[in-house]
Amino acid sequence: MTSFQSTLGDESGIAEELAESQQAISIAEFFEKNKHMLGFDSGARGLVTAVKEAVDNALDAAEEAGILPDIYVEIQESGDYYKLIVEDNGPGLTKESLPKVFGKLLYGSRFHAREQSRGQQGIGISAAVLYSQLTSGKPAKITSRTQGSSEAEYFELIIDTDENEPEISVEETTSWDRPHGTRIELEMEGNMRARQQLHDYIKHTAVVNPHARLELREPNAHFKFERATDQLPEETEEIRPHPHGVELGTVIKMLAATDSQTISGFLQEEFTRVGKKTADSVIDAFRDRHYGREMRWQPPASHEAIDLETLVSDATANKGAEATAAFADAIAAAVDDHDRIAHHELVDIVETAADRTEDEHGTAFGETVQEHAVDAVWRALIDAPEDTAEPDEDVVEESRLVTDCYELADAATSTRKDDEVIHAFAGRLAAKFEDEEDDRHRLTRRQLREHVDRAADLTEEYDDVSFGDTARENVTEAIWNVMLTVPDDPPLVRELEGDRDATSDLVDGMRATDIMAPPTRCLSPITDELIQAGLEKEFDADFYAAATRDAEVHSGDPFIVEAGIAYGGEIPAEGGADVLRFANRVPLVYQRGACATTDVVKSIGWRNYGLDQPGGSGLPNGPAVIMVHVASTNVPFTSESKDAVANVPEIEDEIELAIREAARELKSYLNKRRSMEKRRKKQNVLGTILPEMAEKVAEVTGRDEPDIDDAIARIMNNVLVERHTEANGDGQGVSLVVENHSSTNESLEVTDIVTSEPRNLSDGATAVEMDGEWFVKWEPEISSEGEAVLEYEVDDDASFDLDVKGVESEKLTVTDQ
């Protein structure tokens, strides 16, 4: 191998030479060489991806214009190639934008918008055009007609990969039978081996787009998916970024671009869900991080030999005795009113006292005087040594800070800690405060923790006890909670702009503040109802469940996860469950194994939910379809081909919660089904044994066979409905006896269909006549072990048909004579 290093010294101009061969490459050229990144890695797949991109575009276009999508896809064999035609009824494209949309990569309207849409980067359809021209050499043929125009525009174009610009070969007007819409015709190398994926894609698109009409015509097949609703998905709106999950770099860029002067204004203007109050909270969180909090110490207690009034009086010169006394008194009283007091609070107190004394006594207490007073009081509070006096070595009197620290530490640590140890620790911690250069005792949480750590380390070292992480954290937390956010004005936006550290503090503050989840109007979830409807439409199952989660945020982009489960029925029972993945209403067909959705499905313990899961992990087995939809203003995909959702923890968590929500319903359904199955089995067995037993008992005792319905109903905890009739004058009295042997209250709907008009209906009955039949209906609620008798009279020759609803058929015994 040639070593450039060795020749560097000998020959000049190597770098220049090398530089000559370095040149910019166009994006189109790049993707020409990296087709797989866009999902065009094989002929089979290329066809599916092209359909997908064209259909996604068509759906987006129609929805944005408020038009119910009507999309036609046709695949024709054309010699060695396939011809793909996709037509939509969207608003059409203008003559100017059309060539760029189809003939220029990274051209689109969505990339900068925080709004849910299928397409995002403006790559997809132009990549399909590129693929077509690369494999067949034929230009894309595009027809588009905008609403109201009499003629359609027709283009034939290819992409100039060097320039990433469309190269138009034919441009003319033509007539088209659609009043508006776009039609694209691409010829490409391909094959139909991926027919299954193509069908899945179309079918699944139909599941999540019940408002769209889709038609697919293949050489040998023809599918139509009709609309299930005329309701367009709710229109989405663009939103600003959410403070949670924007990155530092983004914020720095936003700071540079904003018109706001203050941080508060910046936050409120540029972010969603931030008002005055939230902005204040963020700023407080910023202050805590940037400036630190001030420690609040306890004011002197009565037993302490600290006379604040005297201290203030001594510190105040030439203001007259009366005014000075009033000033000192006001300060002392105000300090005493506080449980604890921070330096800036003291400054406020002194200022207020000065103003008041000035008002009352006419004597001005200027800044210097105030400073002296603050200084005198604060030094007393923190027990600072006299400036003049040499530290008295003999009388080592304990600082009052020690007492204060002791109280806090003692309350925060476990009772098992020795008092002596806590005391020693408090002494060391107090010393750390005393050593602070800033005697206002301002600390960030990190600095505070360092102090606590240091004091704890020393305590461990000298007192030979352990002072663990939990204890340290508890003490830190207790003190931090006592400390007070400082009132310092936050920097202005322009000051912040160049200050990376301060900006970082701001971002941290934004993340730490509770902020309402981003608005969901930028998202268009399918909604659990429509997911269920979609599943019901496409899968013939016994059970359906769906769940839509609330919006969450990842990297400043809100997202919503929805999940649906279909179980049983015609879904094949063999093998693993099917996982249907959707992102922004687009089915994900390829790279199932690389998708966060699949990972989450595999990580869930499905046995807990009543599904078979070999080995306790992986895809569950059985007749189940699990559907997951991730809707976001920016779905993070693993690659540009948009086949798999990336493993973003926030999204994975929500996927899991959504699936679990739906799975819980599945579990209770399966449990119920199992218990019903058991009940049915029991009923089947008892249903043969007991009549046989009754028959035998009758035989042995020589009596008629006994009536065993009551006994069976009781055994099965069933609800028993029995009809009794008796002759009653010229008609017959009918009574329906409902006995509830179950352990819960039961609400029933008992309908007796009678062929002649009923009379004297018992309470609560309604009778409706329909085609010569009377529907006599009661809705009794019967408590456990309770009974209801429903009665009426009717002609002798009437016949009946009893119908009972509201109780599972397994739990119901009806004896209709």
Partner: protein, 363 residues
């Protein structure tokens, strides 16, 4: 065996069927309750000095598939027994099990003989009729009597008068399944000697012990069948003969004595009718092992467990038994009856039994 008795047994069975019938009619879940037949539900009847069932009951209810099957089988069995009584026939417990195969309903057929035996016990308890009165008998137990006793047995082929020494061979008089068909006519017996093993019984007969001591030698054949216990009880009660039990010197043999004297768990409902509380234990006693220096085997673990559980057993809570069992646990040895042969074949009849029986004031 009177027809009247049969009629009553049959009626009691049919009453049970009628009870099920009424339960159906009243809309109740058909059921029957029987005392729980486990060790925990056995109580000592101070008055009778026997073991009887306590208050705990198990319910056989049609509430469950299992319970319903049980009751179905019960009804089929009732029908069978009623017919059997009607026709004055009898059958063995094993025959009942096989016979169920011929019933038209597969659900009513028994899975194993334990099930049919258990059901007969249930019916005995609930109808208060003994299985002998149902004409149900166990497999022949082969237990015999040899001794100076003259009796009359009502057999299916008429009445037979038998002398249990003169009219029988070496095997002795075989105790019938229902000893209540026997009428005692005359006897010269002084006491009853119940012997556990066949070998020892044969030894005693060969040595003419029954003749010499006017003993009624009852062969228990291991754990005694009901009929054996019943006839022992009747001989004691009706002829006023003391009952002695001669068994091996191990914990299992003490239980044989216990079932004769106090009744067994399975048939605690019949203790009053089967147990002879006055029965006395001859041996082999642990004390005999020491005193006569008998050949021994070491105690196995299960022997030790059995001995320890007997120490807890209220049936053995007497000074005598505690002393003996503790002694045995101490020497860790056990001996069979026939180990007495180590001292000569006549030792048992010439020395051991006479000594023990006179100690016990039997002779």
């Amino acid at each position: 065996m009177s027809a009247e008795n049969d009629q009553q047994a049959k009626e009691q069975l049919l009453d049970l069927a009628a009870q099920f019938y009424d339960q159906f009619e009243l809309g109740e879940i058909p059921h029957m309750s029987v005392p729980t037949r486990t060790k925990n539900n056995i109580e000592y009847d101070e008055e009778m000095d026997v073991w009887v069932y306590g208050d705990r009951e198990s319910t056989r209810s049609a509430n469950s598939v299992r319970g319903a099957r049980k009751l179905l089988k019960a009804v089929y069995t009732i029908e069978f027994l009623a017919n059997q009584l009607e026709e004055d026939r009898s059958s063995t417990l094993r025959e009942l099990y096989y016979l169920s195969e011929s019933w038209d309903n597969e659900e009513a057929q028994f899975n194993d003989q334990d099930e049919s035996n258990g059901l007969i016990e249930d019916l005995e308890i609930v109808s208060e009729v003994t299985r002998e009165d149902f004409h149900m008998r166990p497999e022949e137990s082969g237990a015999t009597i040899m001794g100076p006793l003259h009796l009359r047995e009502q057999t299916r082929r008429g009445e037979r008068e038998i002398h249990c020494q003169k009219d029988v061979g070496e095997g002795g008089y075989q105790i019938p399944n229902n000893p209540d068909t026997i009428e005692f006519l005359d006897n010269d017996a002084d006491f009853i000697l119940a012997v556990e093993t066949g070998g020892m019984r044969d030894r005693l007969v060969e040595n003419g012990f029954d003749e010499e001591y006017n003993a009624l030698i009852v062969h228990l054949k291991g754990q005694p069948a009901r009929a054996t216990r019943r006839i022992t009880k009747r001989l004691h009660d009706e002829l006023d003969l003391p009952v002695t039990v001669f068994a091996d010197g191990d914990p299992w043999s003490y239980r044989i004595y216990g079932s004769i004297a106090y009744g067994s768990i399975k048939s605690a409902h019949l203790s009053e009718y089967l147990a002879t509380p006055e029965a006395q234990y001859i041996g082999i006693q642990p004390a005999d092992i020491v005193e006569y220096d008998l050949p021994t085997d070491p105690l196995s673990d299960s022997d030790i467990n059995a001995l320890e559980s007997e120490l807890e057993d209220p049936r053995f809570q007497t000074d005598y038994w505690e002393e003996q069992i503790e002694l045995q646990l101490e020497i860790e040895k056990k001996s069979e009856q026939q180990s007495l042969a180590a001292r000569g074949l006549d030792f048992v009849t010439d020395t051991y039994l006479p000594e023990r029986l006179s100690e016990m004031n039997v002779i």
